[in-house]
Structures are given as structure tokens and as C-alpha cells.
Symmetry: C2
Subunit: 199 residues, 2 copies
């Protein structure tokens, strides 16, 4: 006995495939979309097709862009001698929000993860080495996440870039601004102590 | 400075409109869809359009159906003398899962809620009264949620159906099977005591 008509069941299934969406949530979302006016439901469907069709990776930094160079690679105001290496386009957005960094980026689209069968060749590492080899770059900031896989990826790339005349740096570890010492984990506190500076 | 290309930003916005999906989740979902193979993204978009186009309300019980009578109203095996009145098509699915009920349904598509400007005329109440007036129905089970609005809606409909020769019943209240007494709220315990039966 099916409880919902097939097209609705199918829509629930599609939502249930999304990360972090369980069966109940998928039902709620599918019912919500079904309740939308015709035009708005079409807008939703079009947004999916349109994003899929027109969003590509920047040929230089591999960040998402709507065709051609991304705005950051295309901007003459950004400092081309510094490259910040991140795992994901969302990390670019996070760093841009801080309004502190004026260099360029390189998006790896993942981290090295043997558990998930992701090796160096699955990431945008070769294109990074080529950018560094071209000679304009003076510093590469490794800004992968401070977890095991992010660390390993940063170490791996740092070693690859050794032969080139380039500084390879890592984001500072420490207690988060606005955080509470008592809630900081041991490893973070240790790193914060190690990295202490004179005031 | 925009962080994501416009079509991606638009997809994030569409996901952020869904109930229970915040900004961060919307980003995660949009990125996931962008990472899907072309064909699967298209399948998602098609599922939305298809559900919107081909799912209608059953002309008799108002439950969702893929055109024409719903499977339950169309089935000659279901007992047409009992109607279970629920607020939402999901409630039909929940009751069907219990595999206990063999009557038919009536879906109100909401409850009376002055706070949200939902009055009796916004719900499928008139069609319920017409079904009851036709004479075949012997019992109407009010299965709206046991909250204030669900109660009020059940009471309202029960009063409307008074003039007809029909039993109007309400789902039993009590402690949920598998639950713990110590976690039951006062109102539930009171109702469970009131409704106690000999064993």
C-alpha cells in the first residue's frame, strides 16, 4: 500500500538524498514545495538547473564562478603574490567575510582522505603547483581545516612546494575570539600557549 | 563583493526559503546539488515540476493523489461507513502505517487557527458535511492533533455534524506505548487515568 501518490513519493526521495535531511524532514520539505504556487515551484526547479548549467570552476583558482575567470582572479586590485589554499568554495566566502585578506585563492575541492578514497590526484593540487612554478607567487597560506585530514593535506602540499622559492605558511591556531577558556579543548589550549606573543 | 556566483547564490536562497532550513544548511544543500552529476540534478528539478503538475487532491476525501480518486477512496475493500478526519495528508500516512484502520479518510488541509487567519471556510469542512449528509456514513472519527487548535477543530466539526444521524468519536488520549510514566506530562496522565479500562 503506497501512502502518497508516486510523484510526491519521488519528490520526498529526492529531498531525502540531500545531506543532513532525514525521512521526516524530506516529507516536510516536499509537502512545502507542493504547497507553493506554481510559479514559485518552477523558480525552485529552474534555480537548480540554472546553477548546474552556468556555474563553472575558475580556470586559475578553481573557485566557483559564473563562467570565465572568477571575480577575485579577474580583479587587478588583488595581490597575486599571495595564494590562500582552501578545501572548499565556502571557505573562500568565510575568509572574504573577514575583510582582511587581499591576496588570491586556490580551491582544492576536498582534502586528502584515504578513508574516502580521495588521493592527491583527485584534488586541484597540480594546478596549484603550476601557479607557484610560474614564479609570481611569494607566499602560499595553507588554510585547510585544523583537523587530521586538513593537516595532512597542508603538510603534503607544503612538501610539494619545497623546491620552489616560496614561503608556505599555516593559519594560526589558538583560542577563538569571544570564546571561553574553560570550554577550549586541550589541543587548542596547547597550541594557543605555543603560539603566545608579547603584547 | 559577492562571494558566490549569482546562479549559486540564487539556489542557496531557494533552499533557505524552505521551512527549518537556515542559511548554513541552505549553503550545504545548494553545494551538494551543484556537485551532483548533470542527470541527477535534472532529476531533482523534474521531481519538483512533476509533483507540482500531477499531484492533485482527491475529489472525495481531499487527500493527495496522482489524478482522479485516491487509492483509498477508489478501493472497494475500504469501509465507506467510517470516515477518519485528519488535518494533513501526512496523518493519513501515519494511520495507514499502523495497519489497523480500514475505513476512509477526510483531509481538512489544516486546522482552525484564528492566530494564522485560518477559519472553517479555508478548510475542507464543507465537503465533509456533504459526505456525511449523503447518508452512507455511520461514524466520523476526529483524528486531529491533541493540541488546542486540533481540539477546537474537532469540537467545531462535531457540533456541525450533530444534526446528522452519525456517531462522532475522538482518538483516545493516554500514555504512548513504550513511553515512561515519569516523562508523561500532567494533562496526558490525567487523560490516561480518566480513560482507564478494566483488564
Amino acid at each position: 500500500m503506497e501512502y502518497f501518490p508516486a510523484p510526491l513519493e519521488k519528490l520526498v526521495e529526492q529531498f531525502a538524498r540531500l545531506p543532513g535531511i532525514g525521512g521526516k524532514s524530506a516529507q516536510r520539505l516536499a509537502f512545502y514545495v507542493l504547497g507553493l504556487p506554481e510559479a514559485e515551484a518552477k523558480e525552485f526547479a529552474d534555480a537548480i538547473l540554472d546553477a548546474k548549467k552556468s556555474v563553472t570552476c575558475c580556470p586559475v583558482c578553481q573557485n566557483f564562478t559564473a563562467g570565465g575567470l572568477c571575480p577575485i582572479c579577474a580583479s587587478p586590485k588583488r595581490d597575486g603574490s599571495v595564494i590562500c589554499v582552501v578545501a572548499d568554495p565556502r571557505d573562500v566566502a568565510a575568509i572574504e567575510r573577514a575583510r582582511e585578506y587581499n591576496g588570491r585563492y586556490h580551491v582544492l575541492h576536498g582534502v586528502i582522505s584515504p578513508m574516502n578514497h580521495v588521493g592527491p590526484d583527485d584534488l586541484a593540487i597540480k594546478s596549484l603547483v603550476e601557479r607557484v612554478a610560474s614564479g609570481e607567487v611569494k607566499e602560499v597560506i595553507m588554510a585547510t581545516n585544523p583537523d587530521t585530514e586538513g593537516e595532512a593535506t597542508a603538510m603534503y602540499i607544503a612538501r610539494l612546494l619545497k623546491p620552489f622559492d616560496v614561503r608556505v605558511t599555516r593559519l594560526a591556531y589558538g583560542i577563538p575570539v569571544g570564546g571561553h577558556l574553560e570550554f577550549a579543548d586541550d589541543a587548542t589550549l596547547m597550541r594557543a600557549l605555543e603560539g603566545r606573543r608579547e603584547i
